[in-house]
């Protein structure tokens, strides 16, 4: 691969003082009354290498709609566009390190070679002490398609559980903690 003609601008930390600029009202709610699909809440805590909650981070999510189509010009799939769902969410972690999004369960999206991926949500973790966006994914507990997901297959089996959100009770809430470092360290992807 030839070197790119222009060199990328390096990344830097978002720092601790972004709250007056980046979060916006309703950033944690991706749905409105007319959005299609199964309403779900995804929530979790962001934890550092000492097991302490990270209270000054920013979490962003990006996902397909309930039909498995992205609100984006490069998604040319013949699936229904949902004008009431743009698929992006952003929220700061709170004083206990919690983040929470109200969204819909995404449909399946094709992976390498066109084989379907299991339903998943792309996550970015930004924060003080994080010099470059950390990218991970959220998958859903009990989803049969997880067993054949081409991206999960890249992850050593013993670490896959760090990407799978657990259903809370029999409700529509899923929990996934994100652990930056240590024994239960979340799998982060080089994308």
């Amino acid at each position: 691969m030839a070197k790119a003609p222009y060199d990328m601008t390096p990344s830097q930390t978002v720092g601790p003082f972004f709250h007056f600029a980046l979060p916006y009202s309703g950033g944690e709610t991706l749905t409105n009354d007319a959005t299609l699909g199964e309403r779900i809440t995804i929530e979790g805590r962001l934890i550092d290498g000492n097991g302490e909650p990270v209270t000054d981070a920013l979490i962003e999510i990006w996902q397909a709609n309930s039909q498995g189509r992205h609100h984006h010009p490069e998604d040319g799939q013949e699936k229904q566009i949902d004008p009431n769902f743009d698929g992006f969410g952003r929220t700061p972690t709170d004083e206990q390190g919690w983040f929470r999004f109200h969204t819909v369960k995404p449909g399946q999206v094709p992976g390498p070679g066109g084989a379907p991926q299991a339903p998943h949500i792309n996550i970015s973790v930004l924060g003080r002490g994080i010099l470059k966006r950390l990218a991970t994914r959220l998958y859903f507990d009990g989803e049969a398609a997880n067993d054949s997901d081409p991206i999960l297959a890249l992850v050593p089996e013993e670490r896959r559980a760090t990407l799978i959100a657990k259903r809370q009770g029999d409700g529509a809430a899923y929990r996934l903690d994100i652990v930056l470092q240590g024994a239960d360290e979340t799998v982060f992807f080089d994308i």
């Binding site: 790119a4 601008t9 600029a21 980046l22 792309n122 970015s124 002490g129 010099l131 930056l180 360290e185």
Partner: protein, 234 residues
Amino acid sequence: MQQPQPYRREDPAGQPAYYSPDYRSTIERSPRQPLILQPHTLSEITGPVYGHERIGPVDADLTRQHEGEPLGERIIVTGRVLDENGRPQANTLVEIWQANSAGRYIHVKDQHPAPLDPNFTGAGRVVTDENGSYRFVTVKPGAYPWKNHPNAWRPPHIHFSLFGPSFVTRLVTQMYFPGDPLLALDPIYQSVTDPKAGSRMVSQFDIETTEPEWALGYRFDIVLRGREATPMED
């Protein structure tokens, strides 16, 4: 089905390492396991698309968001957003935030005993035009102390957040000012260990951008990830 056109892989030498222990907060917040190399699927080559509707008329002029004018040295910060292949990145959201001219953020957790400015918030946003250009008017931020190490001072900087066209192209960075002696001492700036790469975060004073009797001009071009090869045009 059309296959997603993947992006170039990042050159790690041009980026900071997650574990950069001179910047103390990275010690407990950096993964210890290697990242898992992942192919780009439709989920990664797509990303949030912003409409113009969320941008207000004074969002690009941080000196006009209050009754009066903020104190400090008025500056114009402008540049182009390109990808690695030199293609202008039109219609991409650029968000900035910064300390005021005294080196104080409006943020509740900033305890630096420097004055707040009632006429300055320090947050702005624009969408790039068809040439990938953006332009802000603001005041030059002050340096401020932090507790990373004894007598630690952050060099004046403006935070930048950009999306580009996909999930892959997300970039958060900081823009610095030319000739600043604090850059050599700043563990965040120095986390980019290649000096040439570091210099890509430093804006350039530009007399052409400078407006007579009004404001100094600085240019800051930003380069986001680009595609591996030219996408087919059909």
